[in-house]
Symmetry: C2
Subunit: 340 residues, 2 copies
Amino acid sequence: MKAVVLKDKVQFGEDRKAPLYVEEVETPQPRKGEVLIRLRNAALNRRDVFIRYGAYPGIEVPSIPGSDGAGIVEAVGEGVQGFEKGNKVVVNPQMDWGDNPDFPSKKQSILGVPRNGTFAQYVTVPAENVFPKPEHLSFEEAAALPLGGLTAYRAVVTKGKVKEGDTVIIPGIGGGVANFALQIAAAKGAKVYVTSSSDAKIENAVKDGAFGGVNYTSDNWVKELKELSGGADVSIDSIGGETFNDLISLAKPASKIVSFGATRGPVNNVVMPRIFFKQMEIHGTTMGNPAEFKDMLSFYSNHKLKPKIDSVFPLEKIEEASDKMDQGSLSGKIVISIPE
Amino acid sequence: MKAVVLKDKVQFGEDRKAPLYVEEVETPQPRKGEVLIRLRNAALNRRDVFIRYGAYPGIEVPSIPGSDGAGIVEAVGEGVQGFEKGNKVVVNPQMDWGDNPDFPSKKQSILGVPRNGTFAQYVTVPAENVFPKPEHLSFEEAAALPLGGLTAYRAVVTKGKVKEGDTVIIPGIGGGVANFALQIAAAKGAKVYVTSSSDAKIENAVKDGAFGGVNYTSDNWVKELKELSGGADVSIDSIGGETFNDLISLAKPASKIVSFGATRGPVNNVVMPRIFFKQMEIHGTTMGNPAEFKDMLSFYSNHKLKPKIDSVFPLEKIEEASDKMDQGSLSGKIVISIPE
C-alpha cells in the first residue's frame, strides 16, 4: 500500500522538521479483535506537526503518522463482531482510554506514531475504536471529525456543561478544536462569542453559528467583548498566556474556564482572589473517553453538523499540507484524500 | 453597652492601622425580623485586621467590627419566631447571600463593618442568621466557629467533595480556615497531609487528625510530600504564589485544587498543559451560603468536633489580640471574652 512514513527521529530543539516520505509499504493484516480499514480520507492535527519537530513523547521510527481517518472496512480479525467488509466507518483515535471516564489509563495512546496511523491506504485498529460513519457526512467530513470533535465535545459538554442560553466565549477561532467547540456550543443553544486577529474569521464564525466576536488586535477588546457578551458562563480556551487572565476578566460569577491548550505559553500574574471572589471553576481537559466519542458522533448526527474544512490535499502532497498547518492561518480542518 | 469602635478610615497604603477604641455606646434594639444577642464571646478573623489597614471595600466609620460571635438571645424584633430570651445561639456572619447557592447576591455583606459586629456586649442580626449553639461547644468554641468553619466547609465539602479515603493536602496549617479544613476533611475520612514552617505545628496537626506533614523550609518538601502522601485528590489552598504550582505538582490525575486565599500573592508561570494533561479542576471559593452554614453546624455536632483555640483575650485587650493575629504565628482561633 501507499503510506506516509516518518523515518527521522528529530531531537526537539534541532529546529528542523522530519521529512515525510510517501512510499510503498506492506499492507497490514487485522489481528485478533482488529478491523482493517481501507481509508478514503484522513485529516491533519497539530499533533502531526509536533511529531515532525520531535515535540511529542514516545516517537518511534519508522512509523506512519495520522490520527483522523474514515473509510471502508476491508476485513476483520478473529473475534470481531458487528462489522463486515464494505461498512463505511470512522475511527476513534483515542486508544486504550481505560475504565475511568475522568482520566485515561497509563496505557492510553493516540493513533498515528508510534502505532501506524491514517496517512495510508490501509490502517488496522481495535474494533472498539471503529464506529459507523454518520450518514449525513461525506468521507472527507467524517475524517475531519474525530480528534477535534472528541476534544471539543469533552470540553464543551462534559467539562463546560454548556446549556441553552449560556454565554460561551471561544478565543482564537480558526483551524482546529475551537471550530468544533463553536459548533457544539451553538447547537446546545448557547450564545457563542469568538475572538480572532482576522475580521474575516470572525465573520465566518458568525456564519457558522457564533453570535458575535471581537478582533483581539484592538486595545480594548476585553472591554468590547464584555459589553457585547455580558460576560461568559463558560470560556473554552486553547490560548493560555495573557489571554487566560483576560478570560478571568470576562468571566461571570460562578462561571467556568475550560482549558485544553496554551498556544501562548504559561500564564503569569494569576491573581487568585479574582478567581475565588467570582467562585470560578477552571477545568483542564484533553482528548475524551470512548463514551464521549460515541456521544459526539450522535450529537453531530442529531444536529446534522458538519466539520468545517479548510482545504483538501492528495496524500502525495502531505508535506505541503503539513507545512500549511504549521505556518498557516486556517479556517477549518486540512483533509487528505487517499488514492484508491 | 461596651463595644470596640473603629473611628479612622485609613487609606490602604498609609502603612498604619486604625486604633480600636473600647467605649460605651448605645445598646442597639432589634428591628423587625432581627434578634438582639447578648454576646458571651467573639473571635477574630484576618478580615478584622485588614479593616484596620483600610484593606477592605466598603469601610464606614464609626462602626463596630467583629464577624464571629456566640451568646444569649436578649430580645426579638417584630415577626421573629423560633427564638426567645435565654436561647443560646451562634451567628452566621454571611448576610444576604441570596437565592443562588453558587454565588452571593450583590447585596451580600459580612457582619462587622459597616454593619455593627460582634466586638460588643450586644449585636442585632436578622433572625435568619441566628442558629442554636451546638450543645457540645462552649460559648468560646461556638464563637470561634462561624466564618472559618463556613469557609472551610464550602471549600472541603461543597467544592472539594472530599470523601472517605481521599488524600487531602492543606498547605500552611496554622491559625485559621486551614485548621477547620483539616478537621472537616479528617472527619470525612480523608487522609490529610499538612505543610508548615514549624515542626511543632505539624505535630499539633497530627494530634488534630492529620495523617502527616512536611516542613516547607526543606528544599525537597514537594518531593517528600509526594512520596509521603502519594499525591492529592484534593488540595485546599490559602497560600497561592509559588505554592500553587507546587500543588499542581502534587496533584493526582483528575484531582482538584480548591482555592480560598493567596497569602503569597499572585501565581506566576502556570503551565496549563500540567493542568489539562492531568484533567485537573481548580475551584475558587469564599464564604458560604446559608444551607452550608446549617450543614456545617450539624457536621460539627454529629462529629463532636471543636474549633481549635489559640488564645482568649478580654474585650479591653482587643488591640493586643488584633496585633497578635497580624504578626503572630497562630495555632487556632483568637477568641474574645465579652464582659457581662
